[in-house]
């Protein structure tokens, strides 16, 4: 089933030496990709490995800074979206590109509407969509409004949209992130059908089970570069995982070594706290709704002792964001309770929780963690502004003194308190957030993606700060999309899947493989 077609002549896609930078972030650093016609090709890598950027370049949404790309042997470097569509490339984006107020048929034909006598021939559009839908097995009713569709149906519309435009090369960006297991099975059937009909499919994913399941060939990316190209039949999940994580990256080997050589903490590593033991934060049966009013956190309970790091692993979008927001006071708690230091804060606001001893490094520093146009000094008191008031006005002297002290303690560069946060590098921006949240008194820290998009030096710095805080008796809840980060820092690891803790294990007993099975829902166990 998985035998890939023998290369004949030119590959369907050949991208070489692709470079792409956004500001100071280099998303692609000499990345390459080669895909044969008639195969399902998995493009895998961790978050931020540069997969999506590479596909945006292929689809003409962004031009590469350097490098060349060929489609069916023709140089197409830097082409436009419409060139790509004309050449038969269809991209199904992670965030759907559908107009919710229009019907399925209208969305599918948009831009190449059937016309009769100057009018948009809607009946014909519906008929064509029905035929296409029938031929491909992508069943969806053409007359329904997209706003009323389930996520799985919307994705079918996205695929139909590309096929309607004659796509021969289909790119799907994390297509299963939003699907239920039966929907995933249906999708696999459709994709295999398309491949068997001569279509080429590129699947972006970071779920290894899917890769093994569906792909013929695999390209692994890491940190903007292409690491290796494998035949699915000739590899194993652990080989792919190693390539994704990368043994030869200084940062990871250091952290992996950290697990082996540094006993995380005291003698109590990994033992779940007993209920009678005083815990710094205690969460019981927490239920939280997401933005679309669906249950995103479904009865989660846990405690963290002083001097312990609980890591949450899981594929993004399984309720981690909502959990953290609910704990921080940024999202309404539907049921359950949260206690900090024994005090019930379930219905307390952000400021009151901070007073109770809660600190929070938010997952998105550009949206939540920093006010980019505020100076470093002002950002260092965001959330603490009430404490920096003197005679009714902000105490500039103390704000500046605080800034000088924190800049020094957390090595924020350049050391200019008056500089807008916008002008700092990602790593130094994150240090500002970390300094504010960890530079003062706190009992519990919520650290969400604390090292996302920052340079290696800053990662090291932030990791050591988290370890020091643990040694100083703080309770830390760490959420990270980087499994190795969770494994390197946490005493216990909880795996979150579809809003629930499906496993809680001591970090010493956890491995990427075993956690991976929980993360993808292939193995289940009631939470400890």
């Amino acid at each position: 089933m998985t035998a890939s077609s023998v290369p004949t002549g030119n590959p369907a896609i050949r991208m070489t030496g692709i470079e792409k930078a956004f500001g100071s972030v280099r998303a692609n650093r000499g990345a390459s990709l080669e895909v044969q016609q008639g195969e399902i090709h998995a493009l895998v890598g961790e978050n931020g490995a540069g997969k999506s950027t590479l596909m945006k370049i292929l689809g003409g949404l962004q031009p590469p800074d350097a490098g060349t790309m060929e489609v069916n042997g023709k140089d197409v470097t830097g082409w436009s979206t419409s060139d790509a569509i004309r050449a038969g490339i269809g991209v199904v984006h992670q965030h759907f590109m559908l107009v919710p107020t229009l019907t399925v048929a209208e969305n599918i034909v948009l831009g190449m509407e059937p016309v009769k006598g100057g009018r948009f021939d809607y009946r014909k559009a519906v008929d064509e969509v029905k035929t296409l839908s029938h031929n491909t097995g992508l069943e969806v009713s053409p007359d329904r409004k997209v706003a009323d569709l389930s996520v799985g149906e919307a994705q079918r519309v996205e695929i139909l949209k590309t096929l309607f435009r004659g796509a021969k090369i289909l790119v799907l960006d994390e297509p299963t992130a939003v699907l239920s297991p039966p929907e995933v099975r249906d999708l696999w059937t459709v994709l295999r059908g398309l491949r068997d009909a001569g279509g080429t499919i590129i699947l972006i994913t970071h779920r290894l089970d899917e890769v093994i399941d569906i792909s013929d060939t695999i390209t692994v990316m890491r940190a903007g570069q292409t690491v290796t190209r494998l035949k699915t039949t000739e590899t194993t999940p652990s080989e792919i995982a190693k390539a994704m994580v990368g043994r030869d990256v200084a940062l990871t080997s250091r952290d992996e070594a950290g697990i082996l050589t540094t006993p995380a903490h005291g003698g109590a590593i990994g033992q779940p706290p007993r209920d009678d033991e005083a815990s710094a934060i205690n969460v019981t049966n927490l239920c939280v709704l997401g933005s679309r009013k669906t249950i995103e956190v479904d009865g989660v309970s846990f405690s963290i002792r002083a001097g312990e790091i609980l890591g949450i692993a899981g594929v993004e979008g399984n309720g981690q964001t909502e959990l953290i927001e609910a704990l921080a006071g940024l999202r309404r708690i539907e049921s359950g309770s949260v206690r900090i230091d024994g005090k019930d804060v379930t219905f307390r606001n952000v400021g009151e929780r901070r007073t109770a001893g809660l600190s929070h490094i938010p997952e998105d520093r550009h949206r939540r963690g920093l006010i980019l146009d505020y100076s470093v000094a002002d950002n260092l008191v965001l959330g603490l502004q009430a404490d920096f008031v003197d005679k009714g006005l902000l105490d500039t002297d103390r704000i500046n003194a605080n800034a000088e002290a924190q800049i020094k303690a957390f090595d924020i560069r350049p050391p200019v308190a008056g500089m807008p946060a916008r002008n700092l590098s990602g790593g130094n921006q994150q240090k500002v957030v970390v300094a504010r949240e960890m530079g003062g008194a706190f009992t519990v820290l919520l650290a969400s993606q604390p090292t996302r998009g920052v340079d290696v030096g800053a990662i090291e710095f932030i990791h050591s700060r988290l370890r020091e805080a643990r040694a100083a008796g703080k309770a830390i809840l760490l959420v990270s999309a980087e499994l190795n980060e969770v494994l390197a820092l946490a005493d216990r690891v909880a795996v979150m899947y579809r809003g629930k803790f499906v496993a809680v294990v001591p970090a010493s007993e956890a491995s990427e493989e075993s956690l991976g099975e929980y993360m993808t829902g292939t193995r289940k166990e009631s939470a400890a």
Binding site: L61, T81, S82, I85, V91, H93, F96, M97, L98, V99, P100, T101, L102, E106, N107, L110, G111, M112, E113, V115, G118, R119, F120, K161, R165
Partner: protein
């Protein structure tokens, strides 16, 4: 109250609203806020007066009015689309600019700061009650015709897509900016026709003669939930209330000021969602890179 004269007066009041509101609908459905309808109407009225005055033909006046609206519409489009300027600010600036420009050239052309000389118009037979004016029929047809374009043509589909989710439209190769330029240009011409009707109907241009009608049209767009036909009905409704107030004048049943408030109060109520929520096109007011 004579029903024929009531209807005739109501339609006459409604026509400028109808032109301007349909113009507002097409621009806003493409994602561009239209607070400049007032200014576009004023420019249309003035250009039509100039054209008619110098040619003697109201048809030339209509063409000049459309041209004036087109130019100001394109300025609006350039500022908001090419330069990504704040659409609310630009709308207000266009309104101020329109007042200034019409006053300046009124002075230049007719050496007056209040009004132009008398110009020709359409129809005018007393028995026809104004229904012999071709512009009146164009105004009545504007909303249904726009509805046809918006819901029954490929261009209309693209306008609606661009106003709701420009990213989705761009991802299938629809040029978002091109659609918006066209929509705003059409909006300028339509709204200007509202002013053209006013000037030709009153046989002259007077300073600030639109006196807030453009904002009633904005109210109609919102109260009509960005649908051409519903916005048109809102225009007729507002005009009916005004007609009632005029015909009841002297009775002192309700002070005229309270009748004036109706369109605005209804719009606020609609926006607050007290009588069914008015939901704007999702990408309204957002510039694209």
């Amino acid at each position: 109250m004579n029903p024929v004269s009531f209807l005739a007066q109501m339609v006459r009041i409604a026509i400028p609203y109808l032109f301007a509101a349909t113009g507002g609908v097409v621009a806003e459905r493409s994602g561009i806020i239209s607070l400049e309808l007032e200014g576009l109407m004023l420019v249309g009225a003035f250009s039509a007066t100039i054209g008619t005055h110098y040619s003697g033909s109201p048809w030339i006046g209509v063409l000049c009015g459309i041209l004036g609206g087109l130019i100001f519409g394109l300025v609006h489009a350039l500022a908001t689309i090419r330069y990504r300027a704040d659409q609310v600010v630009v709308g207000i600036a266009i309104n101020l600019l329109a007042i200034g420009v019409t006053r300046f050239f009124l002075k230049l052309a007719f050496a007056s700061s209040s009004n132009s000389p008398r110009i020709n118009g359409f129809g005018g037979r007393a028995a026809a009650h104004g229904f012999d004016n071709p512009l009146l029929w164009m105004g009545l047809l504007a909303a249904p015709v726009l509805a046809f374009f918006l819901y029954r043509t490929p261009f209309g589909l693209r306008v609606r897509a661009v106003g709701e989710h420009p990213g989705a439209a761009a991802s299938v190769g629809v040029s978002v900016n091109k659609i918006r330029y066209i929509a705003v240009a059409v909006s300028g011409m339509l709204a200007a026709l509202g002013g053209v009707f006013l000037a030709l109907d009153q046989h002259q241009f007077t300073d600030q003669m639109t006196s807030g009608r453009g904002f009633i049209a904005v109210a109609a767009v919102i109260f009509g939930r960005w649908d051409p036909v519903k916005a048109g009905l809102a225009c007729l409704f507002f005009a009916a209330a005004e007609t009632l107030q005029i015909q009841l004048q002297g009775n002192h049943v309700i002070p005229s000021q309270f009748i004036e408030m109706i369109p605005y109060a209804l719009t606020i109520i609609a926006l607050a969602g007290l009588v069914g929520r008015a939901v704007a096109p999702a990408a309204l007011g957002k510039a694209v890179e």
